[in-house]
């Protein structure tokens, strides 16, 4: 566990929305299973006083924190308003904001992340599935039944591809310490470097799977920054240049971000690079 344990108190922003309501229930089902605190309050402007699956709703983050001892937020606020919600959470004293929202304008993301930093608030995402420390806590939308407690960290820019890799690991009997989806957008709060630094401080984590995509060079930055044994997988080696494959961040720019050259640069750092997800468990066994 690198961002929190069972005792982490969580609020959900836009708890009354379809996704917010649905995932509040799933997060709390997981909290009950592991004996954690889970989601203890929700926020939805104008809807204070209601309850969602037994969780009290407040108009603002400040009001919620006045009544409840929470330090983390999971944000389901839609694109255009999400930047403001991140700043609201940071301003009110939230220390960890996990932003699930996709399609946030990149200028909003830059401003919100910079503002959160001034308030010592760590941002994960946007456009991410959140994080899960098996047996401790789940913040976000990851399917918990695929995970299993263990000593391999997973950090990824993808959503479902992360689940695929976690599923492969679990089926192979390899448990996870924490699984973090950092998000697929060009500008994200926690990068590979940040998450790997936390894994390095974590006594539970003995090796890390880094799952990257076409676009940018943050994977290499991360791999260079850590002394932990790392196995990587990069999606998009067959992607044609200049084509956008769904994630705003997954556009190939000027050669630097294309997956093949990324794979070459990682291999040059003597890091094992899996050519398909099913190879990852075998490679992890070799480095453990």
């Amino acid at each position: 566990m690198i961002y929190g344990d069972k005792n982490l108190g969580v609020i959900v922003q836009n708890i009354t929305g379809k996704q917010g309501t649905f995932h509040t229930e799933l997060m709390n089902a997981y909290a009950r299973e592991v004996g954690g605190r889970g989601v203890i309050a929700g926020v939805a402007p104008g809807k204070g006083g209601r309850e969602v699956h037994g969780v009290p709703v407040y108009n603002t983050v400040r009001e919620a924190l006045r009544e409840h001892d929470a330090t983390a937020s999971v944000c389901f606020v839609p694109g255009g308003a999400a930047g403001d919600s991140i700043m609201e959470a940071a301003h009110a004293g939230i220390e960890l904001a996990v932003v699930i929202t996709e399609h946030i304008p990149v200028h909003d993301a830059m401003k919100a992340i910079a503002y959160a930093k001034l308030h010592d608030c760590t941002v994960i995402g946007p456009n991410c599935p959140g994080l899960l420390s098996p047996g401790e806590c789940k913040l976000g939308i990851m399917p918990a039944h695929l995970t299993r407690r263990g000593n391999v960290g997973v950090v990824s820019r993808s959503g479902t591809l992360t689940y695929e890799v976690v599923d492969e690991l679990t089926r192979a009997g390899i448990g996870q310490s924490t699984v973090v989806g950092i998000g697929g957008d060009p500008v994200i709060g926690q990068t590979f470097v940040d998450v790997l630094a936390r894994f390095e401080e974590d006594p539970q984590t003995k090796a890390v799977v880094v799952i990257g995509e076409v676009g940018g060079n943050l994977e290499e930055e991360g791999v260079r920054s850590t002394d932990l044994p790392v196995v990587t997988y990069i999606a998009g080696v067959s992607a044609p240049p200049e084509k956008r494959m769904g994630h705003a961040g997954a556009i190939i720019e000027g050669g630097e971000g294309d997956a093949r050259s990324k794979v070459r640069r990682l291999a040059a750092l003597n890091v094992p690079v899996a050519s398909r997800p099913s190879e990852i468990p075998g490679l992890i066994r070799e480095v453990l």
Binding site: P105, P143, Y163
Partner: protein, 357 residues
């Protein structure tokens, strides 16, 4: 979305950046009407979305006597394979010096980055070491003077207000990139001789842009259904959920020496209707002989997906790999209708390869 020069220049001008006088023409004959106001000597610039336009013959000089013939010549050209349909006619500037300036997003520092070089124009790409850069906090409205001094070095101070205005364009227009190459000095002052602007696709609505021109018609149709979709040139159709998993499925097809016909990410929590549309869209490509459906997730309900596949009722073979809620029910429904459901993406892609080979 990329803006062409003739669209970007009026925006730059609104923000106080001087641009040359000019007019857009759609036929060579239209050039004569603009010659009087543009003075003696014009520049004709093809409005095509390609890099290295000047070197590829997309920019021509003319005097008033030769303008019509030059316009005819330019309209008859293809610039890197793209036919010229629109031309920007501009006054010719008395250029003293060319500089380069652009503002983009630095993923690593998560902040805007301003790039500047003393030698702009067509040589910029071969001379990247001469570029100076500064990152600016996105919380600031202006580039602070100390950063501007660092950026400009010995270049004339009169460039500073123009670069700061470009920063305002970058912020105000939700830009991924705002670029002036070349930024020129003339006896009449500083001008943006060219203009490039790319607007964030996630901000098109608030920028009042209704249609994303960068997408093909089929891609736009897909977007309306909530998919992201890219057409490729192989024979194996692909439907997945999540960009990463779908890309990974494409890669796996290549790993087994196959070729994918498309990329289609149905997005989170796909229901029966959405899956049906997705399968039909992919099956509508004549070259597709088999479709791999690879879905994984906590929200996606396998019985819904199965119903969507069955409802689509398409001719190409559909091979399904899915895991999630109601997996057993989905498997049963598909089996009843003779579809194959496999346990891993490797197995699904191998099965597809058997169909195409």
């Amino acid at each position: 979305m990329k803006m062409l020069e003739y669209e970007a220049k009026p925006i730059f001008s609104e923000y106080g950046i001087p641009v040359p006088k000019g007019a857009l023409i759609r036929a060579p004959e239209e050039v004569t009407a603009h010659l009087a106001e543009l003075g003696d000597g014009v520049v004709l610039k093809a409005q095509v979305d390609v890099g290295g336009r000047g070197k590829a013959g997309g920019v021509l000089m003319a005097d008033n006597g030769s303008a019509l013939a030059t316009a005819r010549e330019l309209f008859s050209r293809e610039i890197k394979g793209i036919p010229v349909r629109e031309v920007l006619v501009e006054e010719r500037l008395a250029i003293e010096h060319e500089y380069y300036v652009s503002i983009a997003i630095d993923r690593s520092s998560k902040q805007p980055v301003v790039l500047f070089a003393d030698a702009g124009g067509v040589e910029i790409e071969s001379n990247v070491t001469a570029i100076r850069k500064v990152v600016v906090s996105p919380l600031l409205r202006d580039i602070p003077p100390f950063l501007m001094r660092e950026l400009l070095g010995g270049a004339p101070k009169e460039l500073a207000p123009v670069i700061n205005s470009l920063y305002h364009v970058f912020q105000g227009k939700d830009a991924m990139l705002a670029e002036i190459n070349p930024l020129v000095t003339t006896p009449r002052g500083v001008y943006a001789a060219d203009a490039k602007l790319i607007v964030d696709d996630n901000a098109l609505a608030r920028q009042g842009i209704e249609v994303n021109r960068d997408l093909s018609e089929r891609e736009r149709e897909a977007e309306q259904h909530g998919f992201s979709y890219v057409e490729l040139d192989g024979t194996i159709g692909v439907i997945g959920n999540g960009a990463g998993l779908t890309m990974s499925t494409l890669d796996l097809i290549e790993y087994y020496n196959g070729r994918a016909a498309n990329f289609l990410d149905v997005g989170g929590g796909a229901d029966q209707e959405r899956v049906k549309h997705a399968v039909r869209l992919v099956a509508s490509m004549p070259k597709v002989s088999v479709i791999v459906v690879n879905l994984l997730g906590g929200i996606t309900r396998c019985d819904e997906v199965a119903k969507g596949i069955i409802a689509a009722g398409v001719a190409p073979t559909v091979i399904v790999r899915m895991a999630g809620t109601n997996e057993e029910e989905g498997r049963r429904l598909l089996a009843e209708c003779g579809y194959r459901m496999l346990d891993s993406m490797d197995a699904a892609v191998k099965a597809a390869m058997e169909v195409v080979s």
